[in-house]
Every structure is written in structure tokens, then in C-alpha cells.
Subunit: 313 residues, 2 copies
């Protein structure tokens, strides 16, 4: 994908998204020994960067496709993002969710105007149900991360960050399905001044780290992580971009994720998801390498279950 693709994408989605604020924390700068600029996608519409990619993917559809709607299977942020993005463009969104998904997640999708299609709680059931919706409704399937239009959309967060802070030495982003990190890497490549991109990944869901080592897409051995947005698998569209433009991936422990999350909450007074804390945790783990550097941190989202938080004394 070329620089112009990213520029076109940004122009396309701009009316539908927030240019989210960038926050700093003197105390976290002291702890990290660097100057950190937090791109707050937790303040994005529906509370996560996923709104960007979903909007771009929908706006790239033909008029006929738009009339037939879009479909995805997700119980996370992408379900809400696709529902809201579709609603703001005036398109129907069918969201395939396991029948036992938490009611709070179903309510969020319904609140954004999505149509929920329930299925058995297996990957196979999700995929076949989505296929059925594609076939019966003529809806276009949109993948949460392994889709070029989605990747470009996610990259616009870093694009905005570099518009405000053009001389960042590196940007840290979490790695889940790979859409955000791939888009971030494209934005840093085309719009940064020798700006590195580093991925943060939980040890407990380290498919991207191992894929970078082996040179082919590996699967997660475990997904026992608090960073629930990062349990997903890399794909064949984003992995080549990651191989080419991401410097490396740093793995972090569950304790490191929780400590980084607590720092963000307590010191910045903002609500960030555990997945977002993974990016800060990776930076803190590598802090000897980045002394006095100017670094971006993509705070990917802020959708958490307040009745089930990990903070303990």
C-alpha cells in the first residue's frame, strides 16, 4: 500500500471519527526516562481505534453493497465499531455473536443499531453463521483486522499523532489481530522521520512475536491474558506489512500489563483497556533503549467492564 492510499483513507473517514487528543504525564515521563505522547483512542467514538478501520471499510463499498449491509463475527470492540460505523453511514450491520456473549456486549452492539445474529460459541459456528448471512442477505463480510481497508483506517491514529508530533523516534502499539500495528507501521513509514514502530504483545498470546521469529504465521499456544483484545491471530494481509515495517515485538507479562494499566489510570486519570496498557508495558520494558527519546504510545481503547477490574492492593 502506498502513501496516497493512507492520505485518501484519512480524508474519507475524517468526518466520521474524532481526531483524538494526545496526553502527556510528567510522572510517567520520569518513570520511563523518555517523553511519551499518548494517542488517546479510548476517547474515539465507541471507545476504540476500531471505529477508524470499520468506517474506512464500509466507505469503500459500492452503493449496491452498501444497500445490502455488512457482516462480521466478533464479540469485542470491532462488533461495536462496525455497528456504529454502519449506522453513521446508513448501512445495515449484522453482527454474529455467540449466544453466551456477555449481555453488556450485546447491549452495546444493539445500542449502536447493530443486528445481532446469535450462534453456538465455537469459531466454526461463527464462521458458518457469518457465511450464511453473506449468502442470504447479500451482506459484505468485513474482517476485524486482516483487511487492507481496515489496516489503512487503523493507521490514521498514528498519522494524526505524527501530524502533531512529526519527530517521534518510535511509536509503540499493541498487537492483537495485527490491523493496528500494521496500519501504524505504514503511517510511521510514510509520515515519520525515521520513526520506528515497536509492537507490544502478551507472553500469553505471542503469535506475532513467534511469527516474526519463524518468518511464517504462527498460532497462539495460549490466550490466557487479561488483554482480551489481543487474543486474536495475525493474518496473511497484515503479517507481510508487519515483517517489513515493524522493528520488533516485545512480550510482556500479565503483571507488567496490570502495572502499566494502573499507572495510566492512577496518573493520567483516563480509562484504558488492558490491551492499551500492553503498549506502555512494552515501552517500560525497553526503557534503557529509549532514554530521552520522544515516543508515541497508541492507547487503543477504553472499553472495560467496571464491575470486573484487576486492581488489588
Amino acid at each position: 500500500m502506498q502513501q496516497q492510499n493512507l492520505i485518501d483513507c484519512y480524508k474519507r473517514i475524517k468526518p466520521y471519527i474524532h481526531n483524538t487528543p494526545v496526553l502527556t504525564s510528567q510522572l510517567i515521563n520520569e518513570i520511563s526516562g523518555a517523553s511519551l505522547f499518548f494517542k488517546c483512542e479510548n476517547f474515539q467514538k465507541m471507545g476504540a481505534f476500531k471505529m477508524r478501520g470499520a468506517t474506512n471499510a464500509i466507505l469503500q463499498l459500492s452503493e449496491e453493497q452498501m444497500q445490502r449491509g455488512v457482516v462480521t463475527h466478533s464479540s469485542g470492540n470491532f462488533a461495536q465499531a462496525l455497528a456504529l460505523a454502519a449506522k453513521s453511514v446508513g448501512v445495515a450491520a449484522y453482527i454474529v455473536m455467540p449466544f453466551n456473549a456477555p449481555q453488556v456486549k450485546k447491549d452495546a452492539v444493539l445500542g449502536y443499531g447493530g443486528v445481532i445474529i446469535e450462534c453456538e460459541p465455537t469459531l466454526l459456528a461463527r464462521e458458518t453463521t457469518a457465511k450464511k448471512v453473506e449468502y442470504e442477505m447479500g451482506a459484505t463480510f468485513i474482517h476485524p483486522s486482516n483487511d487492507n481497508d481496515v489496516i489503512l483506517g487503523q493507521g490514521t491514529a498514528c498519522l494524526e499523532l505524527l501530524e502533531n508530533y512529526p519527530d517521534l523516534d518510535a511509536v509503540f502499539a499493541p498487537v492483537g489481530g495485527g490491523g493496528l500495528i500494521a496500519g501504524t507501521a505504514l503511517a510511521a513509514h510514510y509520515f515519520g522521520k525515521n520513526c520506528k514502530v515497536i509492537g507490544g504483545e502478551p507472553f500469553e498470546a505471542d503469535d506475532a512475536y513467534r511469527s516474526m521469529q519463524s518468518g511464517k504465521i504462527e498460532s497462539n499456544n495460549t490466550t490466557n491474558t487479561i488483554a482480551d483484545g489481543l487474543k486474536t491471530q495475525l493474518g496473511d494481509k497484515n503479517f507481510p506489512i508487519i515483517q517489513q515495517h515493524v522493528s520488533y515485538i516485545t512480550r510482556v507479562s500479565e503483571t507488567e500489563i496490570m502495572e502499566a494499566m494502573q499507572l495510566i489510570w492512577e496518573r493520567m486519570k483516563i480509562i484504558a483497556e488492558p490491551s492499551s496498557a500492553v503498549a506502555l508495558a512494552a515501552m517500560l520494558k525497553e526503557k534503557e533503549m529509549f532514554k530521552n527519546k520522544k515516543l508515541g504510545i497508541i492507547v487503543s481503547g477504553g472499553n472495560v467492564d467496571l464491575s470486573n477490574l484487576p486492581f488489588v492492593r
Copy 2:
């Protein structure tokens, strides 16, 4: 106090404080039926508006007084605010705290460079210990809320808000010791265009509401509220200002406070104290009165104990 006092105060403290951001939420606007502008003092230095008043009070001391330091008794935000404000001006701060105050609060004061003097956990012990420090160290006692310089300092949050949004119809602020609401009322009186000020207070600590009814300072009958910053008593310096310039005080239940707090956390993705949620809760309770109005909400602070949160499903 005159308009010029507030202008002078703002010029004096400006280098030491953040001009905090103002956030909005489309969803909370829909729920409230009005346009709300949240003045985010949770992003203030040390996490609360108290930094403003503490800084102003210290900067008004003579050089000799500054050399001898300041003293207060508090285990809440004012302890941290006085410690940090004193540190940034280069003055010693003695903080009288009950020996059984939570370690996290002691650590915060120590982290900001304050000197903790422990005492028995009674109001009498606090007061006599503070008197002793005044006498022995020559330190100047600064009251957290019943002090004209503190009141003026707290008013600068509303002053900044009105600089950005000069045509607010009303501003809502929580009422604890009365410093914030009195300062807010002065700012609205001198800088607003017929801008009302409304106080929010828990039913469980409604001394200000009852004082407004009776015309004299009443005491709290109970202080069994989650809004721990609002358990304190009105004073003889702030009460006359409140009587003169605050339209009325709306009382809210503990459930209303928790629901408002959850709205702020979930929808705005920011961490606000229960005391801050009292201002939004009061607005929501009065929403029929404020349809389509432009309203300010003072989010007073964001210092919460993350390991002890009230959210339940």
C-alpha cells in the same frame, strides 16, 4: 471579594497549575437534554482542583512566613495539594494526619515532599497537633476551604471554563467544605453572563443544603457517603458567598452518585472521584429545568482507590 482579586489570583497561580481541558460527551448530552461542558480538574496537578487554592494561599505569604513553612490537617486531597504547592514554591509543608490514615494517602503526601506529623484520629487531636506545629515551627496554618485565598484559587477553574465558554447558562459544582462552590460562584458572578451556580450535595452530608434553608451554618447529621471529599463542614468565610451567589443546592442519593460516576467513567473514559459525580448527578436530577441549556460541570478530581471501587453489576 472583588473581580480584581480573582484576576490577580489567576495571574499569580497560572505558572503553577494546568489550564485543564474541557471535555464533552454526545451521549451524556442526549441523556441530559442539555449541552454539558466538563471542566476536568481530575487532570489538574495532583489530581484535583485543590492545587489551585493551596497554591494561591502559599503565594500570598510574606517571605518570612514562607521560610517557616505551612501546616494543615487533612487526610484528603488538600494534604497532597498543600504538599505539592509548597514544594513547587520551595516552602516546607507540615501535614497533620491521623496515624491510622491509609498508607496510600501518606505515600502520596510524602511523594509530593510533605512532612507528615501523625496524631490520634480525632478532630481535637488534629487541631491541637496543628496548633503545636504552628507554635513550634512558626508555620502558617492554611485551612482547606474556609480561607479567602483558597476560595479565590478554587474559583479559577470556573474562570478558565468561562474564558472558553463565556455563555454558559449555569455551572454545577459539588459542595464539601464550601471552598470550590464559593469560588465558582464568585467566578460566575464576575465573569459569566447571568450564569447561575448550582451546588450538588449528598443527602448523607447535606450541611450546606440545610444551612441555605435555615440561614445559619448547620452541621452534618451523617457523613455516610461514598463522596468522601464532601464530608466536611461549611465555614464562616465561604457561607456568606454561597448565600449570596449560589442559586440553590440539589441533594442526591448515593445511588444517583454512583450512576453518575459510572456514566462518566464508561462514556467519557475518564476517572472522576465520587465527589465529582455529585455535580453531574445534581444536573441530571434537575434536567427538566435545563433543557437545551449550556452548562458547565466542575469535575473536581480523580483521586480514587482503584482497589476499592463501587461498581457492581
